[in-house]
Symmetry: none
Amino acid sequence: MSSLDSAIVYAKEHQEEFLEDLISYLRISSVSTLPEYEPDMQRAAKWTADQLLEFGFESVAVMPTSGHPVVYGEWLKAGTDVPTILFYGHYDVQPPDPLDLWISEPFEPQVRGDNIFARGASDMKGQVVAHLKAVESIIRTSSLPINLKYLIEGEEEIGSPNLGAFIQENRTLLSCDLCLNGDSNILAPDTPSINFALRGLAYFEIRLQGTAGDLHSGVFGGAVDNPAIVLCKLIAGMRDEHGRITLPGFYDHVRPITDTDRVDVASMPDTWWLEQAGANVLFGEQGFTATERATARPTLDVNGIVSGFTGEGSKTVLPARAMAKISMRLVPDQRPEMIRSNLEAYLNSKAPPTVTWELEQLASCQPAIVERDSDAVQAAKQALAAVWGVEPVFTRQGGTVPVIGMMQEILGVDSLMLGFGLPDDNLHAPNEKLHLPNFHRGVETYIRFMHESANKSS
Amino acid sequence: MSSLDSAIVYAKEHQEEFLEDLISYLRISSVSTLPEYEPDMQRAAKWTADQLLEFGFESVAVMPTSGHPVVYGEWLKAGTDVPTILFYGHYDVQPPDPLDLWISEPFEPQVRGDNIFARGASDMKGQVVAHLKAVESIIRTSSLPINLKYLIEGEEEIGSPNLGAFIQENRTLLSCDLCLNGDSNILAPDTPSINFALRGLAYFEIRLQGTAGDLHSGVFGGAVDNPAIVLCKLIAGMRDEHGRITLPGFYDHVRPITDTDRVDVASMPDTWWLEQAGANVLFGEQGFTATERATARPTLDVNGIVSGFTGEGSKTVLPARAMAKISMRLVPDQRPEMIRSNLEAYLNSKAPPTVTWELEQLASCQPAIVERDSDAVQAAKQALAAVWGVEPVFTRQGGTVPVIGMMQEILGVDSLMLGFGLPDDNLHAPNEKLHLPNFHRGVETYIRFMHESANKSS
């Protein structure tokens, strides 16, 4: 039996143990955004590092940052003829709120049918564990065919504020030929796919201040402006009724969708989008499919807005302040810094003298793309085809993985997105789940990807 | 000495006793909104009723409602040739928070200079006691020249939720020719004034629902609409950039401001509004002064808005829901039910098919006006002029007193606003105060008002 086959047999024989390990990882409520979960963050980091130690990795460490630590480990015994791949993942998860909408507890994983339900199951502890178990399967039966490094961070769900500095400070340690990013998904349980492009992100908080303090709307209504209305008008002016962004200059650097893209890249039908979104009707820029609008076109969303009294009943307040969180998803060759300039220019020209405004950039990430004919993409294609028995399709992803921009900018390497979540996994929402058959297929795919990557270099 | 003069002399000789009674009333922490103050609510009601019993009023009772009780009492021996006046007041007060901003304890009244500081001093125990002491001054020296009823409620500060039902059920008992509402103020210590008009109120909550649940803005942004943006666009379309309300039909029944109004009605300068509001710049409909805009013109304010994630940091949610609390202040002859129709028609025509909407009316009150040449206003004018030595000015009030709408709708009577608070009395805020010279002038004004009201009918 080849070393590849031995590893695959090992993986199939250890599916129950793999699931048990996944469950123990999911039980750790490693919510990065809330300070009270700090001890759980430490536990999750240690859990991850312990796995690498168990596999005989070297230089394994829970490395401090200004925020949550990064888990690092390396296995570099495959020689200089094969590539060094850096696996990127994150051990932190989103907050579980609203708790009352969960069918089972977010941090008490429950298997129901083909799925396991827990916060972080798909995003992305399930993907991290799949890769760890691929490594385990190879290491317990032979030896890794490539050199491998792990970088598992704890701040992805809060925008990776310290990761750039970490990569910068450790750029020799992290040097590699390719980043394999497991924070990804395939199109459907029986439709393997490769994400070759991601959208970038520019995320802002806009704060308006009108009068010095809240006022009584009966006494002062009509005499002074209302910052909540001002904010609504500013936001209303950012997008037309067809979903086209009307910030001046917003589309200036958008790379057009080509005819080849339209042939090569999978597109989900509107019925799929309707069902996934739980929507009665879709919406967006005319002349593009929903898939194109959500992956290859830039967008603007209000992620949050608040002003005045929002409790039960009627309080007649004329609010002094209004705040909105507004984010834009960017596509090549937009850049977050240009978008910030667009937005500042817009606010400078449109905000009335009745308010003062502050603009804070909460997150920023370049859009990314990997060419479809590269070795990495071809290796992934062959691995997926072998496991699923069908050719994978190419997809673009609408979301943003900040680390991909950092890998490109600091380490100078492309990132291949290869993960096994599904679009209906309820990421960032109640009842997050992971499809278990895909989890196990993911383990095999990662095993095969390592072998194919070694073959490509020989 | 005339009976009027005797009463005025009595009042002057008993100023210290009047103040002592006011202090004993202010010591009762009758906060209607907080259940723990329930015993104090009972004590305040009893204190009020005991005063009326002491003056020989009849049918004095602390009458139950579904909430806090109403104090009632009547004195109907003046005969059928003179009017029956219903004095409206309330014995409840706002909560005293934030406590740390009070210089003296909110329920330990303290006289400093010309003012007495205590929660409820101006709003409105000071006004209730002023009227009680006017009655005492007349009754101890002669006999009331008019018929008088008292309705002192305990739920004004929580929106008078049970008062409408109470008035409805007791409409024969409460029948009268005029309601005298003491919950009011004058412009400045040496500027007596009569509020002859109040704005009405139509207060709504609009709830939009987009998709079934919150989504990830990276995955779904561009494919579906964003209800927060939809809500912003709907709100933006309700008002133009000059503050004019653009809801169709909104101004249809607005009674214009006449040239006579502009001569007769007092107007505060912009500097006053800027200072009171803590604003850098005023704002509103062109062609009107700030005073007109805030008192004699209708307005629309967003009192609250919320959607999505509003905590610290960046959560990339595409919200499923958005909510706004929107209220309109109304002037004669607008009616809240017409405004609701305007708003419903607007939402029906403008809300896109990407959202469903619900409209809930949280509060509703007719605007009110008493003609300036009516007997009641003329009696008040003469009383104020005699006490202050200057002609009172006419004012309109921008706020809403729900009971005035109820008196009009259920009892069919106008309400005259006549009270002696000041605009800087810190109502609903720390260090609420009452100007004591005005309190004593208020007693005399109420004495004279009763005599003038009797004279007008003869």
